[in-house]
């Protein structure tokens, strides 16, 4: 019985099925908001108001011809989409979905999730590396360069709510603002929230941090040689990464409360959609910046800002302890 329950958790809810459905819905929301901010209509044709368009896109890719370059390392080339998808789905299992605690929650799970979310970037680099094509390789090196720029500020930003709540467990960090009258921590962490949003945008390789996939320079970057089923898996991975990243940021910065299956899931849907909405605003307001600009922006602004935020939080904690 227990094994069946765990299998349901892993494959249905909050595992693969829920993550796939919710993440494609988030992609639709992002595309719709992005289009409306540009005075366009966005997806319209498939499903109600184009809601099924991301699903249709993935199904279309699944049905397309799957080509592997003759010089590519075939096994590694095929393994990379699976690895990155597995990493993000595993990370998603630690997000507290309908309850304050996920079914496999433990002290230190935020560190595990942060590291699992690094694997897709490495998979992208390796996908470019094993493709043996100039564009893929160039895109792959850009992914790595960008990773070294945003990863430290991202971790520092996630550190702030963890230090504030005195726990490394996502469930406890999420519960902290809503329990014992600690609601004031949310506005106090605004700098770290901003840094987390921008670095998440970089992690997702979205405008203005989409230089690894700049079509005009490197075609599709590390995914240039990918097609068919493998590209569909990468596409799904990207959607689920957006869900997991946004849900993680929402949980640690916006908190959460015990809500049961319906109310709990609804609050996750709402706060994750809010974070995705903010990411869409960033995407619509900015233009692509160069890789050197990303590195200097991250290390000159984002990293110091998260350190200042950490200092503020430590001072507040020290004052509280006195």
């Amino acid at each position: 019985m227990n094994a069946l329950k765990v299998a349901l958790y892993l494959l249905v809810f909050p595992g693969f099925a829920f993550q796939s459905i919710f993440s494609t819905w988030l992609e639709w929301l992002d595309r719709k908001l992005y289009a409306r901010m540009q005075n366009r209509r966005g997806p319209l044709y498939t499903g109600w108001s184009g809601m099924m368009q991301p699903v249709a896109d993935i199904i279309k890719l699944l049905a397309k011809e799957d080509i592997t370059p003759s010089h590519a390392d075939k096994k590694a080339f095929a393994f990379m989409p699976v690895l990155s998808l597995a990493a993000v789905i595993t990370a998603g299992l630690y997000i507290p979905v309908w309850h304050l605690s996920s079914f496999n929650s433990f002290e230190g799970d935020i560190v595990v999730v942060a590291y699992l979310l690094t694997i897709p970037s490495f998979s992208l680099f390796l996908a470019g590396w094993f493709s043996v094509s100039p564009y893929s390789l160039l895109g792959g090196t850009r992914v790595l360069t960008q990773l070294f720029a945003y990863e430290v500020p991202f971790f520092l930003a996630l550190l702030t709510p963890a230090v504030m709540s005195g726990s490394w467990r996502i469930a406890r960090i999420a519960a902290y603002p809503w329990t014992g009258g600690h609601w004031w921590v949310m506005p106090v962490q605004i700098i770290a929230f901003g840094v987390a949003l921008l670095t998440l945008q970089a992690k997702l390789e979205r405008v203005p941090f989409d230089i690894p996939e700049a079509e005009t320079e490197v075609v599709g970057g590390p995914l240039t040689e990918y097609s068919g089923k493998k590209l569909a898996l990468f596409r799904l991975q990207k959607d689920i990464l957006m869900y997991v990243g946004s849900a993680l940021v929402a949980c640690v910065f916006l908190g959460g409360f015990k809500g049961g299956l319906l109310l709990g899931t609804l609050q996750l849907v709402l706060k994750t959609s809010f974070v995705v909405g903010l990411l869409s605003v960033v995407r619509a307001a900015c233009a692509r910046i160069r890789i050197d600009q990303i590195v200097s922006f991250s290390w000159k602004w984002l990293a110091p800002a998260s350190l200042v935020q950490l200092l503020i939080v430590l001072l507040i904690k020290a004052k509280g302890a006195m």
């Binding site: 409306r36 319209l44 203005p208 960033v282 619509a284 307001a285």
Partner: protein, 132 residues
């Protein structure tokens, strides 16, 4: 990057306004005046000079001239009835670039471009249009 925040109020305002694009294909699209759609043929005007065929940059037009012999018998003392000409235009829409050159060069105004723009088809054969 520093000016990105300036755009945010306008972007948020756009969320509350109507989109400028149309909900095609659910709403009919209105084409602007002078739109170059599908070439059409007025066979009664055509004299079979084939200048459109010669000038078409993408070789998308073929004009066939069929001579139809007179049906009435010749009457003595009167000039013999002339054979009629039947003009047929075959348009290869998969090659047409909608440049309107055919309509421009036609001396008898027998080709014009209408406002039809939804021309997608599943086969090339369906894009071959014969007009008489």
């Amino acid at each position: 990057m520093s000016k990105a925040a300036v755009l945010v109020p306008e972007l948020l305002r756009n969320l509350a306004t109507h989109p400028v694009t149309r909900a095609f294909p659910f709403e009919a699209a209105v084409v602007p005046k002078g739109f170059r759609g599908t070439p059409r043929f007025r066979s009664e005007n055509c004299i079979g000079c084939k200048v459109c065929m010669r000038d078409c940059p993408s070789d998308a037009i073929h004009i066939d001239v069929t001579v139809i012999p007179p049906t009435e018998p010749a009457v003595e003392g009167q000039p013999a009835p002339k054979p009629k000409k039947k003009m047929t235009m075959t348009l290869y829409l998969d090659r047409c670039v909608h440049c309107e050159r055919c309509a421009e060069v036609c001396p008898k105004d027998s080709i014009y471009l209408d406002e039809e723009f939804a021309m997608a088809a599943f086969s090339r054969e369906a894009l071959k249009i014969v007009m008489e």
